[in-house]
């Protein structure tokens, strides 16, 4: 025999509502209100589970979150790879399979449950709805506080059975606190009927009324199906399930007698109670049970289910009793997983023979049995034996006392080390039924007294939680924001290929009629060099720097002087870190005596603004300067190429575009195509170029206007790849591509931008460090491969001598490499040790497919005199 349904009763189920589900391919009858575990027990399914490592038959061991055996995969009506059968209510048509220890995701993207995330703020959060949790929650709500109560079961217990709810309390049932974090931040996983919900709760105070877990006892073959924690039998009676017809109780506490009485009252038989508690208890309805004082369970028999238990008494007496259920109770251990995960302390209490909480954060308190109010009668964790090889401690890891002894023999003393050597406590249940036993076994093996060291630490999440629940809505297209510019619809329409630049989607190139990337980039580059091209540069970071001290401030932030910039003019600037390394670059436009607009790299916008604010707020609060981000205020069209002036003119503007009235590195405010605009002559291609800034909501129309006006001049939209080629041909570096945080202005050959005659600026002092002035630092150079078609991979290492033997001394690396339509060949930029002095020299890039021989050149291979910028 195994478990069966009681004739009547069971407040947790509704006998008027029979349902059925499938377990390992067999149809199983249940009632609404059954858990998967209670239904498996009610149907007397033998050996429903297998242990993960040894493949031993296993049964349901508990009725809660500590379950170490009964793990299932749910495939209908939703998919969940692994979950404790004790924690899931059966629904009609559910399809369930046993899963020994390891869940598996499926490749065919099965249907997950609906998921939502919620944030909530409360004055009081209580975890656990038993007596000790219910009343503080009720009282706080009565005082008008916002209170949430988290309960892992469907009903609110209050300690009296039945479902009680107090007004003003928000109840989360079928919910588990996954983790506690600093200052009362708690994550809760709610397994609601209709969906899974992940709560982010911020609580002023948290009360843990998490109760206690019944302590198992390790003895030979204590893992056989039919062996179960004592309390669970009472739980299952609430589901109308008698866990066995004939039950033996093995207990170290008197309280288990009530369990026996409960079974008899519901039609079960209890022939014997083996009791090592040393206390007298009332048998109640179990008056026929033979009480065997000082007797222990020394073994079990049975194939697929428990058939008998071997008992051992004082003086070596032995008996074997036939039974189909063995209830075990070693006592109770406070459930302190959440307490310990936030750093709460433990101490061993000799009165209650258990680890109890001590020293926690001020906003957190522990009450009731979790706080140590546990009715333990004896310190009893395992049955002494000659052979410990089948005294199972961690069922999920199939680890025994013998396994622990091996690690202690090997010299391990700390439970944290034993845990890592045996994996005890590392399975899904985090060792809830094995942690304390393991600690006490180690203590005993070391000859130390009980409580000498406590169980290993627990970590969030407290129960398995699907990744899909943690992800919530932040998956697929919402995994990370996709930032787009106002011109994005045009780029899509034109079939652009996009590149991710941080969160931005930027057009990479605009292929025509399925042309390959190489061809498209070549066409776009040639358009800029021979006619005109337009690029969406809206993602550039933009900051307005305003105030009487703005000129002095920018002099301190950039390596060159910005204070003598004339209103209406533009200057390129480099920004260094305190270490003297290049941090960002951009241009400054002087809008007024006390107002600049500075641009940053696309990726550097937030960093630079934070840095401005940090210096202003912490070092120079005396400077009268305010900084405001305007990155998204302005959409920017870059128009580059010898015909750029004609295109801007054709677009229609009241700005005088003549070379004399509008020289390089100046700007004018005016109207373009009827839109208020700022026109700036800056160039990142070396060609005649205009940047057109308009308020963002005019971005799309101005882009369309430029494209329409440019058509007669052969305008082509170009993307970031062509932009990279064009700037590299001119030796313009990209911060973050040609630099990596270890590159100085001198390394880049940009001494011209470092003004040592002005006052101090950030990074200046570091430029005198001995390491920074070494002549053999890696320095920026250009590279021409001997084979004009050979394209060096970016990141390729360079050597001065190709010895053909590894290792070779490395002299540098390639930072940018392209095919240049303008040069009619491939070329690269690279950082090469002492490179400034090596122009003309041959270097080698040894690659798996063969060595590429290159000539070192100046890093400005195209139009080195800058003749093209004025058109």
């Amino acid at each position: 025999m195994t478990g069966r349904r009681t004739v009547s009763g069971g407040p947790a189920i509704d006998r008027a509502l029979p349902i059925s589900f499938t377990f390992d391919g067999e149809e199983v009858a249940a009632f609404v209100g059954d858990t998967i575990a209670s239904a498996i027990l009610a149907n007397g399914i033998e050996a429903p589970f297998r242990s993960p490592v040894l493949g031993r038959p296993r049964g349901v061991f508990s009725a809660g979150v500590e379950e170490p055996n009964a793990f299932v995969e749910i495939s209908e009506p939703w998919f969940e790879p692994i979950v404790a059968a004790t924690m899931v209510d059966v629904v009609e048509g559910m399809v369930v399979g046993s899963r020994p220890g390891v869940g598996r995701l499926r490749g065919d993207a099965p249907r997950g449950r609906r998921v939502e995330h919620r944030n909530a703020h409360v004055e009081l959060l209580v975890v656990g709805s038993g007596h000790d949790g219910f009343y503080p929650a009720r009282d706080a709500a009565a005082r008008g506080e916002r209170v949430m109560l988290v309960e892992q079961h469907r009903t609110i217990e209050r300690g009296a059975g039945g479902d009680f709810r107090a007004e003003g309390v928000t109840y989360l049932t079928r919910a588990t606190a996954l983790g506690l974090y600093d200052d009362g931040y708690v994550t809760v996983f709610e397994h609601a009927d209709e969906l899974d919900r992940l709560w982010h709760i911020r609580a002023d105070r948290v009360i843990l009324a998490t109760g206690a877990f019944e302590r198992s006892i390790a003895f030979a073959d204590n893992d056989r199906p039919g062996v179960m924690l004592s309390y669970a039998s009472s739980r299952y009676l609430e589901h109308g399930v008698l866990v066995g017809s004939r039950t033996v109780v093995f207990t170290a506490r008197g309280g288990a007698y009530a369990t026996a009485s409960n079974l008899v009252a519901n039609g079960g038989e209890v022939p014997a109670i083996a009791d090592v508690s040393g206390t007298e208890s009332d048998l109640g309805d179990a008056k026929d049970a033979e009480v065997l004082r000082g007797w222990v369970a020394s073994g079990t028999e049975g194939d697929r289910w428990l058939e008998a238990v071997h008992l051992e008494g004082p003086g070596g007496a032995r008996r074997t009793i036939e039974c189909d259920s063995l209830l075990v109770s070693g006592g109770w251990d406070p459930n302190l997983a959440l307490w310990r995960a936030i750093g709460g302390g433990l101490r061993f209490d000799d009165e209650v023979h258990a680890f109890v909480p001590t020293d926690g954060p001020p906003w957190l308190s522990v009450v009731g049995s979790a706080a140590g109010e546990v009715p333990n009668d004896a310190p009893y964790w395992f049955v002494p034996s000659e052979d410990y090889s089948r005294h199972f401690v961690d069922f999920q890891r199939d680890q025994t006392i013998a396994d622990i002894a091996d690690t202690v023999d090997a010299g391990l003393r700390s439970v944290e080390h034993v845990k890592r050597a045996t994996y005890i406590g590392t399975a899904i249940d985090q060792g809830r039924t094995s942690g304390v036993i393991t600690a006490e076994v180690v203590n005993a093996l070391l000859g130390e007294s009980p409580g000498w060291q406590g169980p290993s630490n627990a970590r969030p999440p407290a129960v398995p939680v699907p990744f899909a629940t943690l992800a919530g809505p932040f998956r697929g297209d919402l995994f990370d924001p996709v930032r787009t510019t106002p011109m994005h619809p045009w780029h899509i329409e034109r079939g652009a290929a996009f590149e991710n630049v941080g969160q931005w989607k930027r057009p990479w190139f605009f292929p025509r009629d399925g042309e390959p990337m190489e061809r498209a980039v070549e066409r776009e580059c040639l358009a800029v060099r021979t006619a005109v091209g337009s690029m969406d540069a809206s993602t550039l970071g933009k900051i307005e720097v305003v105030g009487a001290d703005a000129p002095a401030f920018l002099d301190r932030m950039y390596t060159n002087r910005m204070s003598n910039l004339a209103v209406g003019s533009i200057r390129y600037g480099l920004m260094l870190g305190l270490d003297g390394m290049v941090l960002d670059d951009g241009v400054a436009m002087r809008l007024a005596d006390d107002r600049y607009l500075v641009t940053t790299t696309t990726g550097g916008a937030a960093t630079v603004l934070d840095r401005f604010e940090e210096w202003l707020q912490t070092e120079w609060p005396d400077l009268r300067v305010y900084c405001t981000s305007v990155t998204e205020q302005w959409a920017v069209v870059a128009i580059n190429g010898p015909r750029a002036r004609e295109v801007v003119s054709a677009t229609g503007t009241d700005v005088d575009l003549s070379r004399e009235a509008f020289p390089f590195m100046t700007f004018h405010d005016g109207n373009v195509a009827g839109v208020p605009a700022r026109l700036a002559r800056v160039s990142f291609s070396g060609e005649l170029a205009y940047e057109l800034h308009v308020p963002a909501w005019h971005g799309l129309e101005i882009w369309e206007a430029v494209m329409a006006a440019g058509t007669p001049f052969g305008i082509e939209p170009y993307g970031t790849e062509a932009m990279h080629v064009l700037r590299a041909e001119k030796g313009y570096v990209i911060v973050g591509q040609d630099t990596d945080g270890s590159v100085t202005p001198h390394d880049l050959g940009m001494d011209w931008i470092v003004n040592l005659s002005k006052g101090d600026f950030v990074g200046r002092r570091s430029l005198r460090r001995s390491d920074v002035v070494r002549p053999d630092r890696k320095q920026l150079i250009g590279l021409f491969p001997e084979d004009t078609h050979a394209l060096l991979p970016e990141g390729a290492q360079l050597v001065l001598e190709d010895t053909g033997r590894m290792p070779m001394p490395l002299a540098g690396h390639v930072t940018s490499s392209y095919r240049s339509p303008a040069l009619g060949r491939t070329f690269a930029l690279a950082m090469l040790a002492g490179g400034h002095e090596l122009h003309g020299r041959t270097v080698y890039a040894p690659l798996p497919e063969g060595t590429v021989t290159c000539t070192v050149t100046s890093p400005v291979p195209y139009d080195p005199d800058g003749a093209r910028r004025d058109g």
Binding site: H117, V546, T628, V630, H698
Partner: protein, 171 residues
């Protein structure tokens, strides 16, 4: 030529969550000392907003406010500049730097609580409150006004925010 508001194409999506875009509303970032700000009627209590006529002033930082329409941004800039003439200050037109959304409906705070970590319960949130926070991975400025919640979002994040609102409304 016509300007195009960032969420012009999303109005039917916004209706699903009881929201609409306040297209082209004037927004001016003002940086000035708190005493001067108080004299202009700006709020000095952190995370609060005042409304004078139809114009709002939202507290962003001890020395930073966002002034929100109606009317032309240029006129508001000129008016503020006259008031602050001779004082250390910064006035920047940021009207296009953020999209303004207005959420109505009784469950709007629940909807926001799906991805916004701040406390939107009436106990700590209500008319005249504003706050800078996150909605999912997007920075947002929230302003409770006239029984509605305004959300100010960078335009590049606007589609993300609308998509996340829709996802939260039907998980």
């Amino acid at each position: 030529m016509t300007a195009r508001s960032p969420l012009a194409e999303r109005s039917s999506d916004l209706e699903l969550v009881d929201a609409r875009e306040l297209a082209f509303v004037a927004q001016i970032d003002v940086r000035v000392g708190p005493a001067t700000a108080a004299s202009l009627g700006f709020p000095t209590v952190p995370n609060s907003a005042t409304t004078t006529g139809d114009r709002d002033a939202l507290w962003l930082a001890p020395d930073e406010w966002l002034v929100v329409g109606p009317g032309a941004a240029g006129a508001i800039v000129d008016e503020l500049a006259r008031s602050l003439d001779g004082l250390h200050h910064s006035i920047v037109d940021v009207s296009a730097n953020r999209v303004a959304l207005e959420l109505g409906g009784p469950s709007r705070h629940d909807l926001l609580a799906s991805a916004c970590p701040i406390d939107l319960h009436p106990r700590s949130w209500g008319g005249g409150r504003c706050a800078q926070s996150m909605f999912g991975a997007a920075q947002v400025l929230l302003h409770e006004r006239d029984g509605m919640t305004r959300l100010f979002v960078r335009p590049s994040f606007a589609d993300y925010v609308v998509d996340l609102l829709l996802a939260a409304a039907r998980p």
